[in-house]
């Protein structure tokens, strides 16, 4: 992992956005029930616009210093370097759990109620260790296949629900309060964690430009909009009463006598979580230690597993680990930290001089 071949940030972003979409759509608890479709679209636009703002510090850092935040902190004295590394390592562990917990919950509730969620996590994390050891570049290559599979799943999911679409006269009404708006916006801010990932990895990509996050966010917006549209007008009130509405959408999809699109959704969600957790493990490794790759990955995987196990038995821990506000605050700091690096960081790549008296 230390000797990565530079790779396309376009590919990286697109795959990440798609994977993030699939995973985020597992988290059903955050959208307001009182808002209308148009209102949700507006809050989605606001959420994604804020997401874009999170990318700006990283873009500036790349343009002005051609480095990522970890490289920049490595040039700084230990009093700066250590807290930055600790913060990012902690943030990525938290983010991995933030995505992992809802996934295993859904998986346990909907697909394999008889299997222990901890066992599911152990197997999944084992696979993630293998991927994380292979490095970020390899994971982004995997992202291309995930992208194709996501396309197929979405086509099946939306195509299978086309016959159930019911548009009424008040379909395009505007309904929702300011509180609903902020609640929904917070939900759509989740992809901002990708900006934090980029803050740590952008030096390994070879063509990170402004238009890439813009296009990727537009693409993500389209995907969200399509999902919201179908949930509201194809499965409607039924989905509103259910947990995990996107899962319901995949379950109701059918082509004549052929159903089972939910298996595609399961596969997509699994691969997305696999990719995101592997990637976050890579980021943790990079934040903590650039050289001892396998050992660091295994160490942080064990930490992840321990925290997951604790969260499975202690509800308050789980509450904190899946708290949207905590996640957004952390993500905000992680995405904006490059700005601080830009203002206070060293420009040259020369090692820090130590003055001894």
């Amino acid at each position: 992992m230390s000797a990565e071949t530079p790779f396309s940030s376009k590919r990286f972003l697109l795959a990440l956005m798609l994977a993030a979409c699939s995973v985020i759509l597992l988290q059903n608890h955050s959208l307001s029930e009182n808002s209308s479709f148009l209102f949700e679209l507006a809050s989605m636009a606001a959420g994604l616009a804020l997401c874009f703002l999170c990318f700006v510090p990283t873009l500036l850092l790349r343009k002005l210093r051609n480095a990522d935040i970890l490289q920049l902190s490595a040039r700084s004295p230990a009093v700066v370097k250590l807290p930055v590394a600790v913060f990012y390592a902690g943030y990525f562990v938290y983010t991995a759990l933030y995505f992992l917990i809802p996934y295993t919950d859904m998986f346990h509730a909907k697909y394999y109620p008889g299997v222990s969620p901890c066992l599911i996590t152990v197997v999944l994390l084992g696979c993630c260790v293998y991927a994380a050891v292979k490095g970020v570049n390899v994971i982004t290559r995997f992202g291309i296949f995930l992208f194709l599979f996501a396309m197929l799943t979405n086509i099946l999911m939306f195509g299978g629900n086309l016959t159930a679409l019911e548009l009424t006269a008040d379909s395009l009404s505007w309904q929702g309060s300011t509180d609903d708006f902020w609640q929904n916006t917070r939900y759509f801010l989740t992809p901002a964690f990708i900006a934090a990932v980029f803050a740590c990895l952008n030096a390994e990509t070879n063509n990170f430009r402004l238009r890439q996050p813009v296009c990727a966010l537009l693409f993500t917006g389209l995907k969200y909009a399509a999902v919201l549209f179908f949930i509201r007008f194809a499965v409607g009130a039924y989905a509103g009463r259910q947990e995990y509405p996107t899962f319901v959408l995949s379950r109701t999809a059918h082509f004549d006598r052929f159903a089972g699109v939910e298996s595609f959704y399961l596969a997509l969600a699994t691969m997305s979580v696999f990719m995101i957790v592997s990637l976050l493990l890579c980021c943790v490794t990079k934040a903590a230690d650039r050289e001892k790759n396998l050992k660091t990955v295994v160490l942080f995987t064990l930490i992840l597993l321990a925290m997951y196990t604790v969260s499975a038995y202690v509800n308050s821990v789980k509450e904190i680990l899946t708290n949207q506000n905590v996640f957004i605050i952390f993500t905000g700091i992680a995405s904006l930290l490059p700005l601080a690096g830009l203002i206070g960081g060293r420009k040259s790549n020369a090692p820090t001089l130590v003055h001894s008296m």
């Binding site: 071949t5 530079p6 790779f7 396309s8 590919r11 998986f107 697909y111 394999y112 599911i120 197997v123 999944l124 696979c127 293998y130 991927a131 292979k134 490095g135 570049n137 390899v138 994971i139 290559r141 995997f142 291309i144 296949f145 006598r257 052929f258 159903a259 089972g260 939910e262 298996s263 399961l266 596969a267 699994t270 691969m271 696999f274 990719m275 592997s278």
Partner: protein
Amino acid sequence: MVITLKNSIKEIKLNLHTKFADSADLTIREITLKSANRLTAAVITMEGLVDKEQLAQSVLNPLMVYDFGNMPPQRAAETIQNSVAAAADLAAFTTVDELVTYITSGFAVLVVDGAEILFAAGTQGYAFRGVSEPESEVVQRGSREGFSEPLRVNMSLLRRRMKSPELVFEQMTVGSESQTQLMLCYLQSKVSGQLLETLRSRLNACRLETVLGAGYLSDYLEDKNTSRLFSGVGISERPDTVCGKLTEGRIAIIVDGTPAVLIVPRLFVEEFQGVDDYSNRTYYATFIRLLKYLSFFIAVFLPGLYVALAQFHPEYIPSFILIKTAEALSQTPLPVTLEVLMMTLVYEIMKEAGLRIPKSLAHAVSIVGALVIGESAVTAGIISSSTLMVVATAAICSYVTASLYPPIMALRLVFIVVGGLAGLWGIVLATAVVIISLCSKTSLGVPYMSSLSPFSLRRMRDVFLRVSWKELGRHTIRVQKFPETEADHVR
């Protein structure tokens, strides 16, 4: 260590008899030349490797007839080289190692007693299989010629197709005991120097005692720390295929004694390209390509998916199929995973038996396989008909891309077990791990999944599609210029 010969025939004889431990096929014919000072010479050969008629005509007869007068040994040797020997291929040398290599390669070595140099005359005449159509790469249109065992014949097959002086054959020797000759073959203007250097160093690192086939070297050519499930070394028995690869900057390795030529670097998408694709109509070639990809997926995933669906997720199977499948499965004693696993293993055993037994018995084995194991087992209720159909379909599909058979077979077994233990979820995770492993694999620094991932839209013209030659001819492909090729290997 190079040992220089002391060129007295007596000493050379002694040296060779010691080296070959008085081997029965070592032949040393001593002759007295027509000369005033009674010069003696010897012709050293290995029996069975030399064409005796050619040896007599081009070496012995002229030697016996020529009058050397009062020449000293060294001048006599020079005269033989310049005026007497009629062999088209005559090389001078001075060391024991070269002497051994020449005689074991079918050359006749000529020694003049007391001269400083020895000569090797190309009089090879051993029996070998002629040029014939390779059975593993049959084509509908195109050349029917395939590589044979002798190195020189294989080189000539390539040279006949590539008349350019850019085509270079570079000789190397591997195997401390077998001293197997091999040729690195490449187009000078198209190959990457760095790639060539890497390849040479890997072959030099080969410490095998014997190299009896091209497959012995495959492991040495693979990149370090990459998955060995799929091979990063291509194999072909067709000269036209090899020539096509050379034009893309690849390097071929022809190993003496085997018709299989190794080609590096090798990419995943190449496994689905055939010689016929480039002779057929574009739409048909595209259709065949897509069929090959589909067959690959069926061969790998079908049995595993069947097990996962039947055991864990019957609700995903359409009801009209589910009823029949469930009915069939309920009448068999074994769990579906074991049933599929058992049938797959039985099929592999039958396949191996079919390959090894004499052709006259193959028909009987087919009948036993089809009737006894197939029909009777279903009738007796030991296996279900749907299981048999799934295993048979996967087996047939695996032969569409025959070069991928080993990884297909291994993955199929893995997916059956994983599908039986963890259902669809297990299959999805295993697939993710396999894709990661494929994406991390490189072949001499070139990503194995190039064209697909890293994705290249331009190269799609010859991946899932096969566009017309007019389109293909517009851009030349150089394997070292593929995106994300590791700089340590290729520049």
